[in-house]
């Protein structure tokens, strides 16, 4: 099934009377660099393909920031460098709250594909906004820019390895689907080997996601709530979301 992007909302609306107020806004940032983007594949069990001129994009990550603001989608090149950002606002309250997941699964079981070109006048260009998730992803992007042409300084590696960067992005974005109240503001850093550390801090506790530079070592989550602390090894999105949810609600 091929449809145009600006009909997605209408298409979805037509499928259900219970999903009202459907609104889809799509925008691209640095869109000239993007050729092909694929969205919705996992989360909505559907896909959106956006064709633009430029280099090919083979990897994508989708994320939802909050019920009110809708999801943001961020894109990366196969090498892991930051390419662009798109924003889609979809107000599916019932979907987000997972009240009626069976209905949603049925509604979204059909794949949706859309195409459009970079210079469509109705495309709204966005500036990144400062929510915890976009701030964190911006920080991750900045890590990749650190040092310019230099690879390292007296402390160590200036930029994360591709493995660490991609692992971090995947964990952050996959976990975002599972968070009840979204992310807290986090702080990302490159370690001396090119691994990534992300720390979330509250006075009542803290979480650290530690992603080694290479896949030879597994990522882990350090947690600390008062006198209770420890390491949750083999970090994955489920574990990360669980710890962030706990930190958020403590």
């Amino acid at each position: 099934m091929i449809t145009t992007l600006d009909t997605i909302g209408k298409t979805i609306n037509n499928r259900s009377d219970s999903l009202q107020n459907t609104k889809v806004i799509f925008a691209l940032w640095e869109a000239k660099k993007i050729n092909t983007l694929k969205l919705f594949k996992d989360y909505f069990n559907a896909s959106v393909t956006v064709s633009l001129t430029g280099s090919h994009i083979q990897h994508y990550w989708g994320l939802r920031t909050s019920v009110s603001s809708g999801p943001d989608f961020l894109f990366s090149s196969p090498e892991g460098s930051w390419i662009g950002e798109a924003k889609i606002t979809v107000n599916f309250d019932k979907f987000y709250q997972r009240v009626n997941s069976a209905l949603v699964n049925r509604l979204f079981s059909e794949r949706i594909t859309t195409t459009f070109t970079a210079n469509r006048p109705e495309v709204e260009w966005l500036m990144p906004k400062e929510s915890p998730i976009t701030a964190l992803l911006s920080d991750l992007r900045d890590l990749m820019k650190e040092g310019g042409e230099d690879e390292e300084d007296e402390y160590g590696a200036l930029r994360p390895t591709s493995h660490a960067f991609r692992t971090a992005l995947n964990l952050i974005i996959e976990a975002s689907f599972l968070l009840m109240d979204g992310y807290l503001f986090g702080c990302a850093s490159t370690d001396s080997e090119g691994g990534i550390r992300i720390e979330w801090f509250k006075t009542t506790g803290e979480i650290r996601l530690v992603i080694p530079a290479s896949k030879e070592k597994e990522p882990y989550i350090y947690y600390e709530f008062g006198e209770k602390y420890g390491v949750d090894r083999q970090a994955n999105a489920d574990k990360l979301a669980r710890w962030i949810n706990r930190l958020t609600n403590i």
Binding site: A135, D139, D142, L143, E146, G147, D153, E154, Y155, G156, F185, G186, C187, A188, S189, T190, D191, S192, E193, R197, E199, F201, E206, R208, V210, Y220, Y222, E224, Y229, G230, V231
Partner: protein
Amino acid sequence: MTDTPLPPSEAVFPPLPCSTIVLRALLRAGHFDKHNNRVTAAAFVRRSKEKGLDSKGLSVDLAEKWTLDEYRGSFNRCYGIATLHVGYIRDEEMDVIQDAPRHGNITGVPYSEDDEVKAERLAGILANMARPVWSPPAA
């Protein structure tokens, strides 16, 4: 005994008084959490054991021997400077051992490869006691 003076790196210095203030350079942007205005634990994680980095501990410098301008200028990239109180470090079963006229090392923090739980725990304790005294002006 020897008549030849030891080089500074091998000289033995007396224990630092508990009142000593030491400086820790924040060498990555993520070593300072701008959202919470605090130093992160990342600033106190020992670097690669395999490469023999931080073999003596976490590098610090004696605050009374440096000006902040001189100190930050001694690094290629410096994203902030934090101070720590030697007495408080000792309260947490760590220590600061001076190994040069202006330099010392925080000891007692294991490498993550050896004990990641303790390494993280102590890194957090040090981060909590670190007071940021300089950060670059916002761009």
